[in-house]
């Protein structure tokens, strides 16, 4: 039913215009919107809303800042098998400032940024990629003479929403590995308020994209957890969705890279896989639109927990991970289990019947004996009386 509703939009002028502008067949455009809606976990029917919003609404302005990063998150966003997809991505939003993608440089591009911020005051999205150094006043990262801290605060002041993309911006990421000489931190720590975080190194681009489209469609952010991560992507442990979970459950592990178990695709827990304590949707969303197995574990390397603060870039890659269960499953037998069969109606009544019969028979015997004893005593007394009488 939902698809027919979506297909009905094909004829709508806004959709036709958008498809023309993007140079994609209308059906492909609608399919893209449906995929996004599915990725967000939206209810059926929402994909139509997404399509209409993408096609018609004014594209939100996005200011994209780069700090202590490797630009992997941007690269991840640009990796797509469908050539028009990158155009679509850049067309869904109005990217008004992006250091990697801009042709311009220097004072001009900084001016462009200030203009865009003023023009879209209160309505633009601020995306931050990379960690922000905080030691010594943050001098270890400066762009255009301003420290990362100053830039972040300035841009965040009038933003409608702040999105930290990648683990570096989310909580410090790789630069924050001990001893963390520059004091790299996440955006939330610098701003002192919670922000939306899309951790990962790099994160799946659709996690970011879907969040933005949700904001575009519903003028609100998708449900977030206590760390600001959208729940549709970060509410489950990797362990819960891992395709090798059956091997973990059956106790089949790879012990060394290249050994028999490794070749057979056994669980990588013993090699240090952090799946059991990392929240992300890698096993289901995968990377690069290249098909099944395109994620670390699928390729035979244990997950390093790149999304989790305290796990990724902090715990050694081959150190055993803690197995976090949201709740221990009910399937474990308790220390004390109720077992055995108690008295049934049949057995209890049989036993009662036997006991009753025995008691009854016993009572009868006792009575018989008592009566005969009485009779004997009476007989004796009578004989004794007769004797004395005689």
């Amino acid at each position: 039913m939902a698809n027919t509703r979506l297909l009905q939009l094909e004829a709508k002028t806004t959709i036709v215009d958008a498809s023309k502008r993007l140079g994609m067949p209308r059906r492909d455009f609608l399919q893209f919107c449906a995929t996004l809606a599915a990725g967000l976990g939206l209810p059926p029917g929402a994909e139509a809303a997404v399509a209409e919003a993408v096609a018609s609404k004014k594209r939100p302005s996005v200011i994209w800042l780069h700090f202590q990063e490797c630009t992997g998150c941007t690269e991840s966003l640009l990796r797509a098998e469908h050539p028009t997809l990158e155009r679509l991505i850049l067309d869904v939003i109005s990217l008004d400032y992006h250091e990697t993608l801009f042709a311009a440089a220097g004072h001009q591009v900084e001016q462009a940024r200030k203009t865009a911020m003023a023009a879209n005051k209160g309505a633009y999205l601020l995306v931050v990629e990379g960690a922000i150094p905080t030691r010594d006043g943050g001098i270890y990262c400066k762009v255009g003479g301003q420290t990362a801290i100053e830039l972040t605060r300035e841009c965040a002041a009038d933003a409608a929403a702040v999105i930290a993309i990648g683990s570096c911006a989310s909580w410090g990421g790789m630069p924050s590995t001990a001893p963390n000489p520059t004091g790299s931190s996440g955006v939330a720590d610098v701003l002192g308020k919670p922000v939306v975080t899309i951790p990962g190194c790099p994160p799946n681009p659709y996690n970011f994209l879907a969040t933005v489209v949700h904001f575009l469609t519903f003028a609100a952010l998708p449900p977030l957890d206590e760390l600001g991560r959208p729940k549709f992507a970060y509410s489950r442990l990797i362990h819960e969705n891992c395709e090798r979970r059956a091997h973990f459950d059956a106790g089949r592990f790879a012990m060394q890279f290249g050994d028999e178990g490794h070749r057979k695709g056994y669980c990588l827990y013993k090699l240090g896989c952090k799946g059991p304590e990392t929240y992300a949707n890698c096993p289901t969303a995968l990377f690069g639109d290249a098909g099944a197995g395109t994620w670390p574990v699928g390729c035979g390397h244990p997950c390093i927990g790149c999304t989790e603060q305290g796990v990724g870039f902090s715990k050694p890659i081959h150190m055993l991970s803690k197995v976090k269960n949201a709740e221990p499953p009910q399937q474990y037998p308790r220390i004390v289990e109720e077992q055995g069969v108690g008295a049934t109606l049949g057995s209890a009544s049989l036993l009662a019947a036997v006991a009753g019969a025995a008691a009854g028979a016993g009572a009868m015997v006792a009575r018989n004996l008592g009566l005969s004893h009485q009779a004997a005593e009476a007989e004796r007394a009578r004989a004794a009386r007769e004797k004395t009488e005689v």
């Binding site: 109720e338 077992q339 036997v354 004996l369 008592g370 009566l371 004893h373 009779a375």
Partner: protein
Amino acid sequence: MSTQQHARPAPVGGSLLNATTLVCGVLIAVMATIILVRLIFGLGATTNLNDGYSWGAWVVVDVFIGSALACGGFSVALLVYIFNKGQYHPLVRPALLGSLFGYTLAGAAITFDLGRWWNFWHIFWPGYFNVNSVMFEVAACIMLYIIVMWIEFSPVFLEKLGLHEAHRKLSKLLFFFIALGIVLPMMHQASLGTMLVVMGGQVNPLWQTPMQPLIYLLSAIILGYGVVLFESCVAASAYRRQVEISMLNPMARVMLGIMGFYLLVRFADLIARGVLGQAFQPTFIALSFWIENACFIAPFLLIRSVEARRNPARLFLAGVAVMLGGILLRLNGFLIAFDTGPGWTYFPSVPELLVTIGIFAAEVLGYIVITRRFPVLPREEAYAQPTHS
């Protein structure tokens, strides 16, 4: 009545077919069917035995309690042949008959309770048996005792069959078997109690003590007299005979004496180990403990005086009380107060109960058949009972 002179044993006679024997026959047939099912399909198919209660009705009731109720032969032999109380001689054969059936059927019950019964001969075979095991000693003694009892009882068959020469030859050697028939039960009845020791803390402290051998031996002797009281009264009532009050009266006094000593030992042990307080906790187990001991105390109230002991009804009830007490001592130790860990429940299934009932029915039927057809009970004029329903 002269003490040394007594009526010779003779078959009671009469028809073997009556309501009692027919009911017993039916129960035995049911039991046989269930045993067949057990042999084909296993213990799980016929019993409620589980991993928490591995010893259930068949072991505890048929074997432990059955062999305890079969102490009659032992207790009376003790009186007659060791204490030379010849006046009890007429009690020997019927008590021996009860013992014979009790132990033989207990042995049969073991065989079909064993999970791997085809290996049962291992218990008696050098190279297999484990001399440290209490169960080995119990099984070996019981096996020997069953053989000894059949030999002790064989004069009954020899007399009936008219084999006087064989009877005379056997009589010359009988004293040795009688002695064995005293020592063997002393050994295994005491060790039946020792079987509890290795179970450690799984047996409630009210029943777990290193004094088991003495406690169980004394209770076995007492049980023997209790069974004789019971069986004499029931046989007299059923066959319309006079109760042998002259013998039962003083025998009951002996029983009371030993029972007093038993209670002394039992409670002294509880106090010495400091566990008597557990008997006063509001639990089902504490209740069972008091019921058990009340059964041993009841005879003191019923038949303390000579007058009271002349009343066969009181003797009968005292016998029943003693039997119940002995049964409860064993039932409590091995089943009710046995706790392998929380979470386990057990109650015998209907087939299990029917087999146990069948075993007792076989004893009753066997007793009736033998006493009616073989010289076991003393020859006696039938005593006319006053008419009552």
